[in-house]
């Protein structure tokens, strides 16, 4: 069954697991999900059921999309990279090919693409960098020079460093322990890269502290930042108000907005990073 969403472009489909492969610390999941690839734009995500038919209550798991393929033998597949951190994602990691999974997607607002062919730096931490690769493709189609900066605690936590070499003009790698690339975090390496490339736009995906650092560095360099925020989701469709975060609106006022409907991509200078995980006293109710 496919239920189509004309306004948002999201569909709900009963898909299935095509494969789950280990990729270092992470799992690379390919789902058959007809209808989703056609509507996909980089930065959007899917919300999948976990636990099988008997898990009637379990919430969906929101997964950023690494890549989609609209055609092929399976009529539309979606690839996601995730770390198995709880019972739901562990179930997904162990799911056998053919396991039915209900997929809703693509959800959320994608990365905004520049109209001009401007230089872009894409910053990713750990497996959160997965959605940056389809973004890089779109940017190159628009003749934007693309540089990637990938980081992790250790070499084992890096995702996509090899793929990045094929996809971009230049790749910088940073690890906290110095096991590969520069020693330190992506935020330490970013200012130099921004100076070198003269980038106009920074796209980032990773934990909040990394995104906060990226947003500040971008601002300092007069660049525009687009950050994909990773907060816990309950439904992915805007119902449960679990994924709210404080964001400053056009009028300067703070609102608690939903990462699943108004995000996950936000302008880096709009998010109140220090107040993530809380509700600032001056925040107003969601629209």
């Amino acid at each position: 069954m496919t239920t189509a969403a004309p306004e948002t472009g999201a569909v709900q489909v009963v898909g299935e697991v095509l494969s789950v492969k280990r990729s270092g610390r992470y799992h690379h999941l390919t789902l058959v999900a007809p209808g989703v690839p056609e509507r996909f734009r980089p930065g959007t995500f899917v919300a999948v059921t976990v636990g099988g038919a008997m898990a009637e209550t379990t919430l969906r798991r929101a997964l950023p999309v690494h890549r989609v393929r609209a055609t092929g033998a399976y009529g539309g597949t979606v690839e996601c990279v995730f770390e198995a951190t709880d019972a739901g994602t562990r179930w997904l990691a162990a799911a056998a090919p053919g396991t039915p999974v209900d997929v809703v997607g693509p959800l959320g607002r994608p990365f905004a693409l520049p109209k001009e062919p401007v230089t872009c730096v894409l910053v990713g931490h750990g497996c959160a960098s997965a959605p940056l690769f389809s973004l890089a493709e779109r940017l190159r189609e628009r003749d934007c020079p693309v540089h990637m900066l990938l980081g992790a605690e250790t070499e084992a936590g890096l995702f996509g460093a090899l793929e990045a070499r094929r996809a971009t003009r230049g790749v910088t790698v940073a690890t906290a322990d110095g096991s590969v690339g520069l020693r330190g975090g992506v935020v330490d390496a970013l200012p130099d890269l921004l100076t070198r490339t003269g980038a106009d736009v920074v796209y980032a995906a990773g934990p909040a502290d990394v995104l906060h650092g990226v947003a500040l560095a971008a601002e300092t360099h007069g660049a525009w930042s687009q950050t994909a925020v990773d907060v816990p989701h309950g439904c992915g469709t805007g119902l449960c108000l679990t994924c709210v975060l404080p964001v400053v609106g056009e009028d300067g006022g703070t609102r608690m907005v939903r990462a699943c409907t108004e995000g996950p991509v936000f302008r880096g200078d709009r998010v109140r990073w220090r107040d993530l995980g809380g509700v600032p006293a001056d925040a107003r109710g969601a629209s």
């Binding site: 189509a4 948002t8 709900q12 969906r60 109710g285």
Partner: protein
């Protein structure tokens, strides 16, 4: 093709289907996945007089067969709601029930007076957070007084106290029907932080874990007050769960947590309910109401 008639009358309100969404679990966001106009009604998230930013996250946690939630009634305030959300429902032809909550009787009165002059409101659902018959009666009295006669007033009761006493207090003070019930007070601790998982600390349990509890509330109220219309809510995830609520005495049902997992569940459950009725040769949803209370045929008692 199913033949049973789903149309039902809830305290004078004509509903094309007995399947509604529950407060805080369904709204405009479901439109891409389900035909909202085919539902009996959509109950809005709970609206307060002033905008509220809500509880700190996380606001939802999983439990075995359940969900724990504490959203802290995040909402745009009555004025924001009337300006942005309510007109949308009217345009879409969706019947809307406005859920309200307040911190004082004066605020309840103010909400009712402002709603009385708004157009496009078929019913008001009063969110009662405390399982106390005396308080319930006082709140309903204030709300009823200021709403037009034609506006149906639903009282959504909190479980915990004597639910029959609360239902009686609600209808004695002007409620047209009772909604049974809010989630059940509950808690989840985090194995790493050893602290409550939810930002608000405790929360309310919902989902299949509470279905049997909610069914019992519906049963008890229908047994004691058979003339009081009841809306059953709690853990419904299939057509039979909805039918069970009707059999126990509910005139209509609301879907909550199931919509978070399955945004098209309202359409599915509506179809499943039709099948369940057909399978039992019941001509209408109304025929099923309270059926489980009847003595089996041939029983002498």
């Amino acid at each position: 093709m199913s033949g049973a008639d789903l149309a039902t009358d809830l305290a004078g309100m004509h509903l094309t289907s007995p399947v509604l969404t529950a407060a805080g679990c369904g709204g405009r966001e479901l439109a891409p996945f389900t035909d909202l106009a085919a539902l009996g009604a959509v109950v809005t998230r709970t609206v307060t007089l002033d905008a509220q930013a809500g509880s700190p996250p996380p606001r939802v946690a999983e439990t075995p067969s359940g969900l724990l939630h504490a959203t802290g009634a995040q909402n745009p305030g009555l004025q924001g709601f009337l300006a942005t959300e309510l007109p949308w429902y009217g345009q879409q032809g969706v019947r809307v029930v406005v859920s309200i909550s307040a911190g004082s009787l004066a605020e309840y009165g103010e909400l009712a007076r402002r709603l009385a002059t708004a157009s496009g409101i078929g019913a008001v659902e009063v969110h009662l957070a405390v399982p106390d018959a005396y308080q319930t009666g006082k709140v309903l009295n204030v709300v009823r007084r200021d709403l037009p006669r034609g506006t149906t007033v639903l009282a959504k009761l909190a479980p915990g106290g004597d639910v029959v006493d609360q239902a009686r207090a609600a209808v004695d003070n002007g409620a047209d029907a009772v909604v049974l019930c809010q989630g059940f007070p509950a808690m989840v601790l985090d194995p790493v932080t050893l602290r409550p998982v939810l930002g608000a600390g405790g929360g309310l349990l919902s989902g299949p874990a509470v279905h049997a509890l909610a069914l019992r509330c519906v049963w008890d109220v229908h047994a004691a007050l058979p003339d009081v219309p009841v809306v059953g809510v709690g853990g419904i995830r299939s057509g039979f769960d909805a039918l069970a609520m009707l059999l126990a005495g509910a005139t209509a049902v609301q879907l909550g947590s199931v919509l978070l997992r399955d945004p098209s569940a309202a359409t599915r459950i509506r179809h499943e309910l039709l099948d369940e009725l057909d399978r039992r040769d019941l001509d209408s949803a109304a025929d099923a109401v309270g059926l489980a209370h009847q003595q089996p045929e041939g029983s002498s008692r």
